[in-house]
Symmetry: C2
């Protein structure tokens, strides 16, 4: 039934048929996610709500925006993408997030938390300005409700004088369990469901911003959802509404229901098998060891304690652990300000989410030259989550920041040493690393600030400078291949991208330099080295990503396609050696 | 009396003496700001509050954080900086913002709105962790209360389980009059001052987040402020408190009281005299002209309508004008989402505040390839406001963004043509410009996407590539000087920093290239050109700012000191010509 279903048919379905549709969607999601990886429990929790939305509203004329977008799978299944659903998160396949390029049923691309209400207001305002008439709906989890963007958007609702529907899909989780006073407040609203009067008093916080509030309802109760949406659709003609629903993350799949944090995102086992160790585990273990002796160390995260490897630290040192929810900017300033009082904060965050606190890194941490360590996980190509989640910009937007040191360890062993180094380092420092550690290199020399490590000498005219595990692996592997052809290439581990090891660089003046990095070229390692040598003229070849957004795919296949590979290096050097 | 005053003496003063102190501080501020420029009305509004703070609390043991920091002048006068006060905003002098480097009475540097509550929480948390005992106080205006950071900080107060005092200094202005529902709410609190019961009900919104609320009081009533602070200091032992005070921006100086927006920041006349036209005026006039014919055009700002030149547009086209208050991220997403519906948004913002929506520029606007125009005012060195306000990073953090075109007009005439060009351009584009237009160049050729303009041919081996009015001025002036020495240097106007005009660049293969820009080197024009030529080897000399935060000073003197000047170019070329 799910195959080829469209909104017209859905609107004619009976309740039992709609229930069957939900079951089918749920099964399809489970089987696909276990094959392709992806967000599981959030999608299972929103099946009924999404079916009800398609039953009541008229897409694509009406617009729905999914906050973060990791709960859009049922929407994709119901909007003509059933057949391609098997390709989700694969190279060239459907995205795991809403994508305008993919379907007219996706009106706004999301990926980072908290943008949906702003986007809905913009679309609704544009509708009003151009004299159109359609509904604009947001589906947003309670985790995103912590983000400051939501407040900025709410604050401007009356000002913009427009109408939207915000469906607050409350499951008590934001990858980690949701924290903060807004969440406590939502819990009060939920707990009071028997006492309408009391609840209505609490709901005033939303009314203050100009929303009508209606809640709390069971988001997994299809019949109730349909009835509520019909009612709210009417109400939308005269005012903006927040519809507060409770849903069960992982609904319909017992293991997910019991383990919502672990099953928020699923990796496919094929990838997992090759992993020797995750950098995040090394971070957690190392920080725990350090924190036992150094009581100044604090750990800060924004709603991702477990995936950043910090669960153990948080258990062991609760008074020195801070998770503020999805509030990257606030978390960054907390680190800066704690450092003014002599503490030693480590802020762990995914590369893609670090982008959100660029201004605070620049102004609060670095212009005050405060000893905060940024632990940047999922740096480089992150793979199947696609454009919005690639960690390929951090070297670029950090290299321009004065006072900041940038370190890129070549493997987990060097990473551990680097964290020890950071604990003693009295200035802002960023350490960037991928998710998986796949190998430990033989050479492990002492870490000295701003100094690189020679991994392999070479008597040819070529020298490769690489930073990070993947690029160093690629460089060494290229060197190995070239050795078979009698070309002996030097390989250098650029542990620090900032400052550059100018002494070692200047020792390479006679060499033809190749740079390799898991980052875009502009502002990255290669670009910094180009500028170092620009005055005087020098032959340099950069291997880095070009000026494009990199779509989803496997890490290896994307690196190959976007030109950062040992094969590309080998080919280049062979050509130049002729 | 103000000279050499310290907190110990202040605590012994009688009320009449304290009043006299206020008067003296106010006079000192007025006379100094009219000499040095700076924030006037905000500082005049907080004299009594600051004197009361110094009377009641024990600085520097207790800590006070001024949000934005533009209202810290009285604090500086009372904390040992009277003698140096004449140097405020001058090169090498006192900063117009709090600076830890300057005094132990400044515990946290501010400059951008909304960071203070986060910073206070971090400092208070650090205090608790290290077992210390002092008070942490925030002074924040109602304008900053619109920013999402405040919500993120409030949301985590209970979670962090610490205690701070937030003094909400409500003057109804955030440069422009404050907008939004939070502001309306604050007005309700203020209006109700006679009806305590009703007011207390309203105050629940703060209590929801764990604050005790006390208000509304007259922030310019010294006696009341002292009494209130004594009371609140006691209350702080058991809970966090918001003290809501109303103050009059520009208090004690009639012209300021009546013109708070115009007197928010004062420029000294010496600077103004040379100005022929402000880029912001050209922006406003051009957009008005365009909007009359093109009904898709909308203008968006974040609390700076007038200083960005958009007051006229807002008056003429209110339905297509959006000012969301100090919410840079929200404003950026509004633009992206309005563009999805076919509108043509122009987002005008100062370069330094654009930093705050880096993630939204990257993800919302550019990864969706939406035709939003970023109008980046006060780009390059902005001068007397110092480190936190220099606009010297935008080329760098924008050049790494795929799909984005970056334009840098050489004068206001080209700027006007560029805005016309943007109105027809169907992709994301950023236009960056300084505040003041000082000259119009003779040559004005048609703007073609990604194409540069040759301003001067040269038969020597040198070619200068410059972007923006100041660098083009410097380049032409250097070329003129060199011509007297018989060295004929070509000068190119790099109207587009992204994409580079690679055809023209490659035509310069035999030349020794010099690049000139009003931006840091990393990621800027020079760096992009270096990378373009890295493969093959080429002699390039970059004139751009180095890897440092640039302090306050005059634009010209800072550009000279940091190496972007015609003198430096002339010297370099002469040396290389020998």
């Amino acid at each position: 039934m799910l195959e080829n279903v469209n909104d017209k048919q859905i609107k004619k379905m009976t309740l039992p048929q709609l229930h069957a549709l939900c079951d089918e969607a749920r099964q399809k999601i489970i089987s696909t996610v276990f094959k392709n990886g992806g967000h599981l429990s959030s999608n299972l929790g929103t099946v009924e709500l999404t079916v009800a939305l398609h039953y009541v509203f008229d897409f694509p004329e009406d617009k729905v925006i999914f906050d973060v977008g990791h709960q859009c799978y049922t929407h994709k299944l119901l909007s003509g993408r059933y057949e391609k659903f098997d390709t989700i998160r694969k190279k060239g396949g459907l995205s795991g997030f809403p994508k305008r390029e993919e379907s007219i049923y996706d009106c706004y691309n999301t990926g980072h938390a908290g943008t949906s209400v702003s986007a809905a207001l913009g679309i609704a305002k544009a509708r009003d300005i151009s004299g159109q008439n359609f509904n604009v709906i947001v589906v947003i989890g309670d985790g995103s409700f912590n983000n400051g963007l939501i407040y900025e958007a709410f604050n401007s609702l009356r000002l913009l004088n427009t109408k939207i529907l915000v469906i607050l899909n409350d499951n008590g989780m934001s990858i980690s369990p949701t924290v903060g006073s807004m969440h406590e407040y939502l819990e009060i609203l939920s707990a009071d469901s028997e006492q309408k009067a009391k609840r209505d008093k609490h709901a005033k916080i939303f009314e203050r911003f100009g929303f009508g509030y209606d809640g709390v309802y069971d988001g997994n109760d299809l019949e109730q959802m349909i009835a509520k949406l019909i009612e709210v659709k009417e109400r939308l003609k005269t005012e903006s509404v927040i519809l507060h629903v409770l849903s069960k993350k992982g609904k319909g799949y017992a293991f997910c229901e019991e383990n919502p944090e672990a099953t928020h995102g699923i990796s496919v086992s094929g990838t997992v098998k090759d992993v020797s160790v995750e950098y995040s585990d090394v971070l957690g273990n190392t920080l725990e060891t350090l924190a036992e002796k150094n009581e100044k160390i604090v750990a800060v995260t924004a709603a991702m304690t477990s995936s950043l490897g910090l669960s153990g630290f948080f258990e062991k040192f609760p008074e020195r652990s801070v998770d503020v929810g999805i509030c990257e900017e606030h978390a960054t300033i907390l680190c800066a300000s704690m450092a003014t009082e002599g503490l030693k904060p480590f802020y762990a965050v995914y590369s893609t989410f670090l982008q959100r606190s660029f201004d605070e890194i620049l102004i609060d941490i670095c212009s005050q030259n405060l000893p905060v360590t940024l632990c940047i996980d999922r740096a480089g190509i992150s793979g199947a989550d696609g454009e919005t989640h690639q960690g390929v910009f951090d070297l670029s937007f950090l290299s321009l920041v004065p006072n900041l040191t940038i370190a890129v360890p070549k493997d987990v062993k060097e990473f551990e040493a680097m964290i020890h180094f950071c604990a003693e380092y009295n200035a802002p420092i960023a350490v960037r690393y991928p998710r998986e550690g796949k190998r430990i290199f033989g050479k492990q020399s002492k870490i000295v600030a701003g100094k690189w490590e020679k991994l392999k000498d070479g008597d040819s005219k070529f020298a490769i400078i690489a930073c990070g595990e993947r690029p160093v692996t690629i460089a060494l592997s290229a060197a190995e291949m070239l050795e078979k052809d009698g070309i002996n290439v030097g390989v250098i581990n650029a542990r620090f991208v900032k400052p550059l090891d100018t002494v070692m660089l200047d020792g390479l003046k006679e060499k033809h330099i190749l740079t390799v990095e898991d980052n875009v070229l502009a502002g990255g390692l290669g670009s910094l080295i180009n500028s170092h040598f620009a005055h005087g003229g020098k032959n340099i070849k950069n291997f880095a990503y070009g000026d494009v957004f990199i779509p989803q795919g496997g890490v290896g296949e994307l690196m190959d396609e976007y030109g950062v590979s040992s094969a590309a290096i080998v080919e280049y050097i062979k050509n130049e050696s002729r």
